[in-house]
């Protein structure tokens, strides 16, 4: 029984369809990536999972059971729009939020101290949110969403607005939570984070789930269409090879990036180049998630 399962869930706002027939399930110890452009229906999907709005059709099951108030305490939510009480002491508001999710005051206090310790910011216990830097506010917000040790964690744009050091810190923490058996639904625009963290993803476009499955499988479906050629001297006539779409010189002048129409073209390119000089590098790249995203979302845009 998967901890979180959506079955053909749809949501209409009047005439407009916000989410159309999305199905997905997330296992324990898994981070599931939910991708999509702005307005693609990610937030609506997450809000339905959180029970804020009810789906028009389809089912959302938590450990096989439908939504009820009790589920609230096992859900953790980090909203895209961050916000805490600016003028309330951090200990007060984080403990309050934990209490709302059914935690005892004492336990909440202990957990908060442990988390602050973990992030090395114990001295913020008695400070107010408005006194902190933006990055530290984000950390507090993150703590607020996980303090009650939720089984299911919903992270909307978890790493936005953070500097690289803090991104690494939070990424490490999210991985630890995953390894601790938590079920995590994760949305972002940053493809490199998805590639690093997620096993399975759904790309949404205009309310529809357009690509779904494991990241590996998805990448296999897309042709390798990019070749990197490395050479110390210029290579001539690359554009002339049949099947080459575009050639770009690398910034450092020590090679080229070449877009091709199918994988076989790569071999012809290799032959062509080897006739002219000794190559320092030859690589047929698998598509990045970024490319997949732009291709799948861009295609249906036309």
């Amino acid at each position: 029984m998967k901890p979180l399962a959506l079955e053909r869930v749809s949501k209409q706002y009047g005439e407009k369809t916000a989410v159309n027939q999305i199905s997905l399930d997330v296992g324990a110890g898994e981070i599931y990536g939910l991708l999509g452009a702005n307005g693609a229906g990610k937030t609506t999907t997450m809000r339905m999972v959180l029970g804020l709005i009810y789906p028009d059709s389809g089912k959302i099951l938590y450990k096989g059971k439908p939504y009820s108030q009790e589920q609230l305490s096992m859900l953790g939510y980090l909203p895209e729009e961050r916000g805490m009480y600016p003028k309330v002491k951090i200990s007060d508001q984080v403990i309050y939020l934990a209490q709302l999710r059914g935690m005892a005051r004492k336990d909440a206090d202990r957990n908060l101290k442990a988390w602050l310790e973990k992030f090395n910011i114990s001295e913020y216990y008695n400070m107010k949110i408005e006194e902190l830097s933006k990055g530290n506010q984000q950390k507090i917000q993150f703590i607020a969403s996980v303090i009650h040790d939720p089984q299911i964690l919903i992270l909307d744009e978890a790493f936005s607005g953070l500097d690289p050091v803090n991104v690494e810190l939070l990424k490490k923490t999210v991985k630890e939570l995953r390894d601790g058996g938590k079920t995590i639904l994760f949305s972002t625009h940053r493809m490199e984070h998805v590639e690093e963290l997620c096993r399975n993803i759904t790309i949404m476009h205009r309310s529809n789930p357009v690509i779904q499955g494991s990241l590996k499988e998805i990448k296999k479906q897309f042709n390798r269409e990019r070749v990197i050629l490395g050479a110390d001297v210029p290579i001539h006539g690359l554009e002339g090879v049949a099947g080459v779409k575009k050639v770009e010189e690398l910034e450092q002048g020590n090679g080229y990036t070449i877009w091709i129409d199918r994988e076989e073209t790569a071999q012809e390119l290799l032959h062509h180049a080897m006739k002219q000089t000794v190559l320092t590098r030859f690589e047929l790249l698998e598509p990045t998630l970024n490319e997949i995203f732009i291709r799948s979302v861009g295609e249906s845009n036309e």
Binding site: Q12, Y13, L50, G51, I53, L72, R82, Q99
Partner: protein
């Protein structure tokens, strides 16, 4: 239930810790203390001041001036005493001497009498540095009237008893009666004054307790929305629990504030010097109908829950605190109208306006309380008012809860009613 108490506790704690709230409460308490002690403070100053000295020239129509001085001198509580100055020869020299006396602080002003053949009584001019001293001219007028009357009736051959009768001031006593039951309550003037004062004070307290506190709810909800902490709140606790938790918490805050004011008031009133003053005025809070306190509490509760649910709904549809005042306008108007009906209806508690208003739920906490305090409305009228209030609270509470449930999730520009209805349908609330 646990969550509910957490919301109540958090609301309460936060508000009580806010600096501005504490400061405002202290300031109002101080103003209240000063207000209560003001009569005493004024009376302290008065006794030091004594009567105002007014000069006149002894030779200036003595047949009027002499009795005037005698009359003012004989009257113990008189605010004005005449001081005579010798004739310096000419009118200019006289005025010069009197002006010098004003300069020296011996007198406040002086009177000049001139023969007036047309009325047969001298024309009197009071001259002083200040303008419009109605207290002094009033006292002089009363005294002159008495002198004039005595001058006229002197030769009419009236007995002393008849003269005394003629000169005695007229007194009107007003007593309130009840026509609904057979036994007239017959409140005395003092009791009426006390009831009036109590109702007046209570309407202000009601307004503060009901509207000012409700407004704080709207502000807090909008603040939660604009700081986006609402996103986490609505996913942690059912919106209804959150809304009524906040309303309850704020109610306790308001109640606490009112209790503080009442305690400050009572402590000040029971200070020895104020007690004596109150006793002198024949005021005794025990004279109030105890039911009036009960009604005050009932109308406070009903009014508060009526306005607070409305304010919560308004607060929930606004995303930014800057827009709140505008969105609150209709509710503010309702509360203001109710308040002013209560205040201005004081002098005409029996008017149709007050009667009609006492059945309109938004105004009835003020208007009906006014009627109960100052007149004797029939029991069924009170029951009807409370019934209407209860129904309105229930209906509005239900609608407000729905609006709240929808509003907290809507960001961006303030939604129209149509958009709100659409969203409600979409959210299935």
């Amino acid at each position: 239930m646990n969550n509910f108490m957490a919301v109540v506790g958090f609301t309460l704690r936060n508000k009580l810790r806010t600096k501005s709230f504490v400061v405002i409460t202290i300031i109002i308490a101080v103003i209240l203390s000063i207000g209560v002690n003001l009569p005493y403070i004024i009376s302290q100053f008065k006794s030091e001041e004594g009567a105002t000295q007014v000069g006149y020239i002894a030779s200036n129509i003595p047949e009027v001036a002499e009795p005037l001085k005698a009359y003012l001198g004989a009257n113990e509580g008189s605010k004005v005493q005449l001081v005579s100055y010798p004739d310096a020869g000419s009118q200019d020299a006289n005025e010069q001497a009197l002006k010098q006396a004003i300069k020296d602080g011996k007198i406040k002003g002086y009177i000049v009498l001139e023969e007036d053949a047309a009325t047969g009584f001298p024309k009197v001019t009071y001259k002083s540095e200040n303008m419009m001293e109605s207290g002094i001219t009033g006292a002089l007028r009363t005294a002159l009237q008495a002198v004039k009357t005595e001058n006229v009736i002197k030769d009419a051959g009236l007995s002393d008893a008849q003269k005394a009768l003629l000169l005695m001031p007229i007194q009107i006593e007003a007593a309130q009666i009840s026509v609904t039951d057979n036994v007239g309550t017959g409140k005395t003037v003092e009791q009426q004054g006390l009831a009036m004062g109590f109702v007046y004070a209570m309407i202000i307290v009601l307004f503060m307790g009901i509207f000012v506190t409700s407004q704080m709810i709207a502000t807090e909800i909008t603040a939660e929305k604009s700081s986006r902490v609402m996103e986490i709140l609505v996913t942690s606790v059912a919106p209804l629990k959150q809304m009524f938790g906040k309303i309850t918490g704020m109610f306790l805050v308001g109640l606490l504030q009112i209790v503080v004011y009442i305690v400050v008031f009572l402590v000040n009133v029971s200070l020895p010097h104020n007690k004596a003053l109150l006793a002198g005025w024949n005021l005794n809070f025990g004279d109030l109908d105890p039911m009036l306190y009960v009604y005050a509490l009932i109308f406070y509760l009903t009014g508060y829950f009526l306005y607070s649910t409305l304010c919560a709904a308004v607060g929930s549809i606004v995303s930014r605190t800057e827009d709140l005042a505008q969105a609150m306008m209709p509710v503010t108007m309702l509360a203001m109208v109710g308040f002013y009906i209560g205040i201005f209806g004081m002098t005409a508690a029996d008017s149709t306006l007050v009667k009609v208003a006492s059945f309109i739920p938004f105004f009835s906490p003020f208007a009906m309380f006014l009627r109960i305090g100052l007149t004797e409305p029939a029991w069924w009228e009170i029951v009807l008012t409370l019934g209407l209030l209860a129904v309105t609270i229930f209906v509005l509470g239900w609608i407000s809860a729905k609006i709240y449930r929808t509003g907290v999730l809507m960001y961006g520009k303030r939604p129209t009613f149509k958009e709100l209805r659409k969203a409600m349908k979409a959210y299935k609330v």
